[in-house]
């Protein structure tokens, strides 16, 4: 074999090597992703705990989703790994927590690249929080089966299951003004039903607040004890000379830092979480802050938990965000992803449904759109009203775009609204991130349609300056990857974000000492956290400068030399996870290598 043919073979196969022995692997190694569900922390009030007198019953709705005797003390994660030919375990495992109303899905491209780059040395475990198991995803699974055999009508049935036809009030015949006829058959169809876990058939099972009252006990304490199990499992894999790294994206950095500062010993002793990990990776989030100015007293805290646990009490989970039904968004994203993967360039089926015809999505999806466009309009930093969900996935410039100023919608920043050109024969198409004709400003003017995907946000601030976005924006994320994330088993959107107890807990920020009861909440060790920390930001994201991490760095005991920040110019909030050729991967792998070398000095 010549050198040229060797390199061609490597390019085709990927590579693997060992200094000792390696097993035959003719096809070459491939990065693998698998969804893992395992036993979690046994929270006593949770259905399935078996704690007599404390365990709360599962409602019929929950039983229809999970069976007559569900055990909800479970934790799940998306494991990304690349088996070494030698069969040796990885030397490092990175455990990641998703952000606000998000799941493990957005970590998929990032994890694949990290693992491929390290070629088996590193694994990534991306967590889905507990409520994931309560999501009724039958419609998505059914749609996937129908797509697999080319049955678009079956896919419409799945949509009908989630979003049945609507006969709007009025005397006009169905379908008439304001009506929704998902499959276009001219008949008002009932919800489509599928077999459920109790042996019957049921339409989409969407939880009500009273189906999840046990969520009053799903706060930081429960979550971090779930993750401690994963950390301990990871340690058993990599051994004492390997690395267990913990991190998160966006609000996931708050979760990760309260984990690091947690004391698992509720008595007078200390069992600090940071002693179980070897480093913290903070992706587009500055970690937990100081919390609310006025924190609840212990009595107020206990009273709030009791209220949350009571039937018809305050909301357990976040039902909507910016007016959008979160469970419906999560459920529809699965089918929207499948639609985009199977019908590229075709009119999006989701636009036939009531969710797309109801505010706020009726505004966002007002123009007829292709399957990729509906995903882009929702996710892209130029077209999403919510910057926290934004990435740089391309643009749509084949129709009129209206620049909506910040604040027109509550909590929304400036964004482009893709509008209808009133030609019934056309649908808005999406230009992917690598399209060479993506518009930029200049020469375009932002306020003149079609506007621009690319802008310059000014000079880089000094490390001591207040954080501001800066630099040349880049389009780096592939809309097809986004569709794959939508369609994946792991969550893109967390349907039932347990806001009630979590919001209560996060009022204490990174130090809950004032609460005075470590059996309820024990974020008491932040000031002692001394592990290396790497912050990764995007210059067009939420943590665009070194200063974005200053508050947390100032609150911990990590030496200055072990507090590092890398800012990716032009990256938006999601890009650090979704970029197709992610510039944050080499510095993160280098960080892992340095920590690994440090650990191996003790022995190998």
């Amino acid at each position: 074999m010549t050198k040229r043919s060797l390199i061609a073979a490597l390019a085709l196969a990927g590579v693997a090597a060992s200094g000792a022995t390696i097993a035959s692997c003719p096809a070459g190694p491939q990065v693998q992703q698998e969804y893992v569900v395992r036993a979690g922390y046994v929270e006593p009030h949770t259905p399935g705990s078996g704690v007599a007198g404390v365990e709360m019953p599962a409602t019929t709705m929950v039983q229809k989703i999970l069976g007559p005797t569900p055990d909800l003390n479970r934790v799940s994660y998306l494991r990304t790994h690349l088996p070494k030919p030698s069969g040796a375990p990885p030397r490092a495992i990175l455990i990641l927590v998703p952000g606000f109303i998000s799941g493990a899905g957005p970590f998929m491209p990032f994890a694949r690249q990290l693992v491929a780059r390290a070629n088996g040395t590193l694994e990534v475990w991306a967590i889905d929080r507990r409520p994931n198991q309560l999501e009724d995803a039958r419609a998505t699974h059914y749609a996937a089966e129908r797509f697999a055999v080319g049955d678009v009508g079956g896919v419409l049935d799945a949509l009908q299951m989630l979003f049945p036809d609507v006969d709007a009030p009025g005397a006009d015949p169905f379908p008439g003004a304001g009506d929704v006829d998902v499959d276009g058959d001219g008949v008002l169809d009932p919800p489509f039903a599928l077999p459920d876990a109790l042996g019957g058939a049921s339409p989409w099972l969407k939880l009500g607040q009273n189906d999840m009252r046990f969520g009053a006990y799903w706060g930081i304490d429960t979550y971090v004890r779930d993750w401690k199990l994963l950390v301990d499992e990871a340690r058993s894999v990599v051994g004492p000379t390997g690395l267990v790294l913990f991190g998160g994206h966006s609000m996931g950095t708050s979760w990760a830092t309260v984990f690091a500062g947690y004391d698992f010993d509720p008595s007078s002793g200390v069992d600090a979480a940071y002693n179980r990990i070897d480093g913290l990776l903070l992706l587009e989030g500055g970690g937990a802050g100081a919390g609310a100015a006025t924190k609840p007293t212990l009595a107020q805290y206990q009273q709030t938990i009791a209220s949350l646990a009571a039937t018809d009490g305050p909301d357990i989970f976040l039902a909507s965000f910016s007016g959008a039904d979160l469970a419906a968004l999560g459920a529809s994203s699965g089918i929207a992803g499948l639609d985009g993967l199977n019908r590229p360039g075709q009119p999006a089926l989701l636009q036939r449904t009531s969710i797309a015809k109801t505010f706020p999505l009726s505004i966002l999806f007002g123009a007829p759109m292709a399957t990729e466009t509906i995903a882009g309009a929702f996710l892209d930093d130029d077209t999403s009203p919510v910057s926290a969900l934004a990435g740089s996935f391309g643009f749509s410039d084949d129709g009129p775009n209206a620049l909506v100023p910040a604040g027109v919608f509550p909590g929304a920043g400036e964004f482009y609204l893709l509008t209808d050109d009133l030609d019934p024969q056309t649908i808005r198409k999406w230009k992917n991130f690598d399209d060479p004709t993506l518009p930029s400003c200049p020469p375009n003017a932002p306020e003149v349609s079609p506007g621009c995907a690319l802008r310059n946000n000014g000079p880089r601030p000094l490390p001591t300056d207040p954080p501001v976005q800066w630099g040349d924006e880049k389009e780096v994320s592939d809309i097809r990857d986004a569709l794959g994330i939508f369609a994946a088993r792991a969550d893109f959107i967390e349907w039932y974000f347990v806001s009630g107890r979590v919001n209560l807990d996060f009022q204490f920020g990174r130090d809950s000492s004032a609460l005075g009861d470590e059996s309820l909440l024990a974020v008491t060790q932040t000031a002692n956290v001394n592990v290396p920390i790497l912050g990764i930001g995007g210059s067009n994201g939420l943590t665009p400068s070194e200063r974005s991490y200053a508050s947390y760095f100032g609150a911990v005991a990590t030496p200055l030399a072990d507090e590092e920040v890398f800012i990716a110019e032009g990256y938006a909030h999601l890009d650090v996870l979704t970029a197709a050729d992610n510039v944050t991967v080499p510095p993160i792998v280098a960080w892992v290598n340095r920590l690994l070398q440090r650990k191996l000095l003790a022995g190998f």
């Binding site: 085709l12 090597a17 035959s24 070629n119």
Partner: protein, 189 residues
Amino acid sequence: MLLLRPLVAAALLCASPAAATTLTVLVVDSGQSFLIAEGGPIESLAGSLQLEVGALPVGPGNTTLDVVGLDLHASGGGTIVLDPGQPSPGLGVLASSGAFLIPTLFLRLSDGVTSVDLALPDVTGSVVFGPGGASIAELSTGFGVLTPSGLVDVTLLAVVPEPSSAILAAAGLAALVRRGRRGAKEISR
């Protein structure tokens, strides 16, 4: 199954004794360094590598052993260098016994037209120390690469250059340092 090919190497110490780390340039012995692709001819390897060692003599614990420069040429025309796109591409550890481990070695292979970056996990080998353990006298390592066409086995022998080649080694060192600095990525506090 690939067998690790033990190698024997010699090393040239060329570092300031006052430095906290020791820079060592090794020159590849073409007579004993080679690449064998399954079913293909044996290709000899030439070139040099540069190591940075944390502390010599190695104390009771381990010390760092970083490959900071690599410039290998196969007789078939291919080259192997450190991956310029990966910061810290060759971080490892060295035991007082002489055994070393590089958990992941990041390389770039090229035939002059096409190049491919690859990460080699668990690269092991050993060194023989010079008098008093104050220098590295020999190094040995080897690794295998799996392809659909079969196994490619790389064996590397680096030796202390003869005085006449020391000048070349020094020139190579300078070039490697420049290359390494160009490839470094910024990570700032």
